[in-house]
Structures are given as structure tokens and as C-alpha cells.
Amino acid sequence: MSMLDTAANETRQNVRVITLGQAIKEALAEEMRRDPRVFIMGEDVAEAGTPFKVLSGLVEEFGTSRVIDSPISEAGITGLGVGGAMTGMRPIIDIMFGDFIALAMDQIVNQAAKVHYMSGGKLKVPLVIRTTLGATRRTAAQHSQSLHAWVSHVPGLKVVLPSTPYDAKGLLKTAIRDENPVVFFEDKLMYQLKGPVPDSDYTIPFGVADIKRAGTDITLVATSSMVQVALAAAEKLAELGISAEVVDPRTTFPLDKSTLIESAKKTSRAIVIDEGYERYGVTAEIASVIADGAFYYLDAPVKRMGAMDVPVPFSPVLEDLTVPPADTVMEVAKALCGRV
């Protein structure tokens, strides 16, 4: 819990253990109570509460005028979100599966991300796009991708990847209060992950990495779904007497380069783990930032572990091979530390 977090003090009290999905819903409900301009629009978000049931109960409190079931029109609803944000509302657009942002890329990238700059700063787009990432749910190639690298590439956008219930609530509130378009990725499998969350109001600033576990021998930079994998690997490494530091950037843009570089300078070894396709993915940016910034301190090359560069297969025996497991992370870390 970084000291930078607002209300860090109150949050010491009234901390419950809830799931990441509940934390998301709590952040949405609190922000909607606070600000009447905030509304949610997407497919089956109202009575159904999304297929993941994350929004269950919101329509009962806020009604169908603020929790709006839309047609199956990802480009269209994102476009409506941009127009609403430009004219005084604070829309939250729900894109059920991250794979579907492919349908809305023009609205996200050519419209939302550029309006503020193209207008010379006169117009702004306080829009949040909530979507998902992550494989191993047996939903095959069109429902399992983690495409956050695409939007991280685009100036004008901010990109958030929460990895704990605490971070999810604080980061989502920051996203909703931000004056810019923010793409917020939730790992579908982590909705059930439990953790301590204050019931009070707090925000977590963007661009501040969080050290999820302190260590001295190797840095494991991990995002979203891979944070738990890195923590499990760190546990196993500890048994071998290797002290791994797990660093979670929390936002790919803004990116907290200095924390990543400082950790690598301290440990002199780093692995970057992310569930997006490895090729031209998030691991490439972070690895090159560290390799550059910590160049004179590194004892070994920075290693990257992303999703296997294949469309996600349906068959469980194949799908499970596409995402880095803790054991593999541990093996790579051992090798980097010169243990065999």
C-alpha cells in the first residue's frame, strides 16, 4: 500500500477481505454516487450484470438510465462514449472481452486518444473503457487474448492493469476521475481473487509501480494475471535461498520507469512477465527500458516471458502451455542467478 495513496490513513481502518470483482463493483458504485455524470454502458451490463456478474446489483441501485444495456456494437458504444465524454459526461464503456477492442480501435485510437491534442487542448475525453484479458478459460482464440500492448503504444491513452482487489478499487477510481481516455484491463480469472480492501474512499495514482514483494537477488516485473505467478515463483525461489523482488507497474502508461530500473540496479537481474503475446508486446518495452536504464548494473540479460506467440488453442492440454507458469519462471530465474 504505497504512501502516495490518498486517504492511506483512513484506509487503515475498515479493511475487509473481498474479491477483485467486488472491489471493481465497489469502486463503480462509490464513483456513481459521488458523481452523477458517471454512467456505465455495455452489452448485458444491467440485469445480467455482465457474463462475469461483476456488475450485479448496480442497475438496482442506479437504474437503467445509468447502467445501460447496449446493442452488440463495440465501435458504436465506444463512439457514444467519446461524444458523451466531450460534452460533460463521464462514460464507462464495458467491452466484455478484450479481444473485442479490435472492433473499436478506430474510436479508441483515432478519436478518443486524439481529440484533446487535435483541438489544441480545447476538448477533452474523460472516458473509461473497462475490458478484460487472460487465457486458460477454454474459450479459444477469439475470447482469450491480452491486447493491452496495442493501446499502450498510443499517445493520448492511459492503460491500467490491476493485480489485486486493493489496486483494482483504487486504480479504477483514479481512472474515472482522470480527464483522459483510460483503458482498464481486468483479468477474467482474477475476479475471484480475494484480498484486503478498505471500504472507504481512496485512489491510487497512475505511474506508480508497487513492490508486491521485496527481494535482493532478482527482479520479477509482472503485470495483471502474472503478478500471482511471479509471487508463487518468488516463494519457490525463497526455498532455494534466492530472494526475488516482485514489481508490479500497475499502469503500462504512465510507466514508472525509475522504480523498475532502481529495482534492477539493486538486484542486477530481471525477468519481465506479462500475459500478452511476447512478440512486440509489453515485455519488450519494459525489458528494453530496464536494459537501457540499468545497463551498467546488470549481471545477466533481461529475460522476457509473455504468452506463447500462437493463437490461443481450445484444448486444455494445449492452452495451458501458452501462459508462463510459476515453475518456468522459477527455472528461468534460477538459471539467471547462475544456479543449475
Binding site: E47, H143, V310, S315
Partner: protein, 337 residues
């Protein structure tokens, strides 16, 4: 396409009545095969033998069968996340489909596609698609290709009412009409986009969205296989002659949940509504009723068919359950051709 036995019959000089009988009994068998296949899929899910979820076609069988029976084997179809019925109706075999659903190497896609991505070149199935409306471009492109290659193949694009929300559908219908492409758009309006009634997501006249582009559009009782087949035959033969695309708006209903896991449905639709469709509008009952009425068949024939199909389904499921998973090395193959 007609099955071997049926085509033999029609080959011989058989009475019109016998031909009628053969044709409708064959369609009954096809619809029943889909029905029993899906019920077996549901069992596999409930007994935790199938990975992931499946979207069952039960209740909508008359559309896939009525349309596909008007197609040739070398004609194309594209399908949806609710695609098992389309695949079977176009001639896919039960065992290889079960194998795919279980992620086995013997499956149509070696287990790489699963329920939402079954494709079968040999029967002209260009694939189910898990992106709503995602196959509209592929279907229209396949129709353009037939025209360019000088064949007279027709392509049928199946999709649900929810796909009317996807802009790409209008982009490709425009081109299909402009260039008179041999493609038939078959909209299966089962009243729901997942858990939302289509009237909450779909403005205006559904059929007008196609006719606006100059596409010949017909509204169809999707529970009556004879009506579906008659209209499909007319639109398909018209397209085959180069007279342009067609659009079928088929009114239908899914008996099960949006997917096998959708058990509590009370918040979006009533038990009464479900019962009404199952009792009054069931495509299998409607056909058996008519066949009996016409004296073209009786319960003994239906029982005989049911047993044959039941055996095929059970054998297919068993085959899939016993089949091996793909080798781990398969994960990295077929990324590139």
C-alpha cells in the same frame, strides 16, 4: 445436400409421394440428430467431461436443416458461436464434432478450435465464429470468390439477431447487393442477444435493414422446416442464377440458456414463454404432426429413426471420450501455413 440413400431414391423413378416422404423423413432425422447431439453435449457439460461452455441450438433445428437441405455439398456456409446445428445440417459427422468439443486430436480442428470454431472444408463449412457478426465478411467474400472463379456455388451466412448490431454486416450487405453476389444472409431471431431481449437493442423493422440495400428479404417461421426449406430453396436458386443475394429473417427460440451454464433465466425471460415455444412451436413436433396427418409416416417410423440417431450419437460421444488429446508439440503447429 441430399444424403446418399435419399439421392438414390430420387435417382430411381419413384413416385412424387415417396420422394416427398423420403425428403421430409430425412430432414426429420437431421433435426433429431441436432436435438439429441445438443442434449448429449449438455450432459457432457453437466458431468464435467467437456472443457469450457457450449451454446446449444435446441429449438432452432428447422432453420439449419431447412436451409442446408437446399444447398449442395460444395456450397458454403459460415456459422456462429451457436454453430453445432449448422455444422451437422451441412453434413458434419457426430463423432468428429464431439471429439472437437472435448479438445481431442481427432476433432475437426485437432482440438484447437472447440465448440465455437468448428470448420469442415469437406462439407463447405468455412467455420463457426465467436465474434458476433464476425463471419459476415468471410461469407460475402466466399460468394464473391465463387463468382470470380466462375462456379455457381452459393454461400449461406448464419447469424443471430444480435449480429444486427455489428456495422460490418451492413458494409458487406451493401457490396453483396452492388455486385449481385450469391450469398444468403440467414438471421436467426431467437428473441435474445444473450440475456437482453432484441427489442431493447434493435430499432425499426429488422427486415428493412436488408431490403434497404436492395436485398430480397423474406420473413420466415423458423419453427416450420417446410416453410424454411421452401423459401431457402427459392432464394438460393435465385442467387445461383446470378440474380443476387437474399436475406431470411427467421423467427425462432432457443430452449436452453444462452450457454450451458445459463441456468437461472428468470430475470430475462419467463418459464411460460419457454413452455409456450416448447409445446406449441417445436419444430420436430410440427413436422411429425404434419407427416402423420399426411399419412406419410407413423410413430413406428419415428421410433426407428430415433433409435438409429440415438445409436449414432452414443457411438460418437464414446468415440470422443476415448480419443487421445493432441500432442503438446501441436500447440505451435498451424500458426502459419
Amino acid at each position: 445436400m441430399l444424403q446418399p440413400e435419399a439421392s438414390q431414391l430420387s435417382g430411381q423413378k419413384m413416385s412424387k409421394r415417396d420422394a416427398e416422404q423420403a425428403r421430409w423423413l430425412h430432414m426429420y432425422e437431421q433435426m433429431l440428430k441436432i436435438r439429441l447431439f445438443e442434449e448429449r453435449v449438455n450432459q457432457l457439460y453437466l458431468t464435467a467431461k467437456m472443457p469450457g461452455l457450449a451454446h446449444l441450438y435446441v429449438g432452432e433445428e428447422a432453420i439449419a436443416v431447412g436451409v442446408c437441405e437446399a444447398l449442395r455439398r460444395d456450397d458454403y456456409i459460415t456459422s456462429t458461436h451457436r454453430g453445432h446445428g449448422h455444422c451437422l445440417a451441412k453434413g458434419a459427422s457426430v463423432d468428429l464434432m464431439f471429439a472437437e468439443l472435448l479438445g481431442k486430436d481427432a476433432g475437426y480442428c485437432h482440438g484447437k478450435g472447440g465448440s465455437m470454431h468448428i470448420a469442415d472444408q469437406d462439407t463447405g463449412n468455412l467455420g463457426a465464429n465467436a465474434i458476433v457478426g464476425g463471419s459476415a465478411g468471410i461469407a460475402t467474400g466466399a460468394a464473391m470468390s465463387s463468382k470470380q472463379r466462375g462456379t455457381d456455388q452459393v454461400t449461406v451466412c448464419f447469424f443471430g439477431d444480435g449480429a444486427l448490431g455489428q456495422g460490418v454486416l451492413y458494409e458487406v450487405m451493401n457490396m453483396a447487393s452492388l455486385w449481385k453476389l450469391p450469398v444468403i444472409y440467414v438471421c436467426e431471431n431467437n428473441l435474445y442477444n444473450e440475456y437482453t431481449h432484441y427489442t431493447e437493442t434493435t430499432a425499426g423493422e429488422l427486415g428493412a435493414r436488408a431490403s434497404a440495400f436492395g436485398i430480397l428479404t423474406e420473413e420466415v417461421d423458423g419453427q416450420n422446416v417446410r416453410e424454411v426449406h421452401a423459401i431457402a430453396t427459392r432464394l438460393i436458386e435465385r442467387a445461383r442464377k446470378g440474380e443476387g443475394p437474399g436475406f431470411m429473417l427467421c423467427n425462432t427460440y432457443r430452449y436452453h440458456g444462452h450457454h450451458v451454464g445459463d441456468i437461472q433465466r428468470g430475470y430475462y425471460r419467463s418459464k411460460e414463454e419457454e413452455e409456450l415455444w416448447k409445446t406449441e412451436r417445436d419444430p420436430l413436433k410440427l413436422l411429425t404432426g404434419w407427416l402423420t396427418e399426411q399419412g406419410l409416416a407413423d410413430s413406428s417410423i419415428f421410433q426407428e429413426i430415433e433409435q438409429r440417431v440415438q445409436t449414432e450419437i452414443e457411438a460418437g460421444a464414446q468415440f470422443a471420450l476415448d480419443a487421445p488429446y493432441p500432442e503438446p508439440s501441436e500447440v505451435a503447429t498451424n500458426v502459419y501455413a
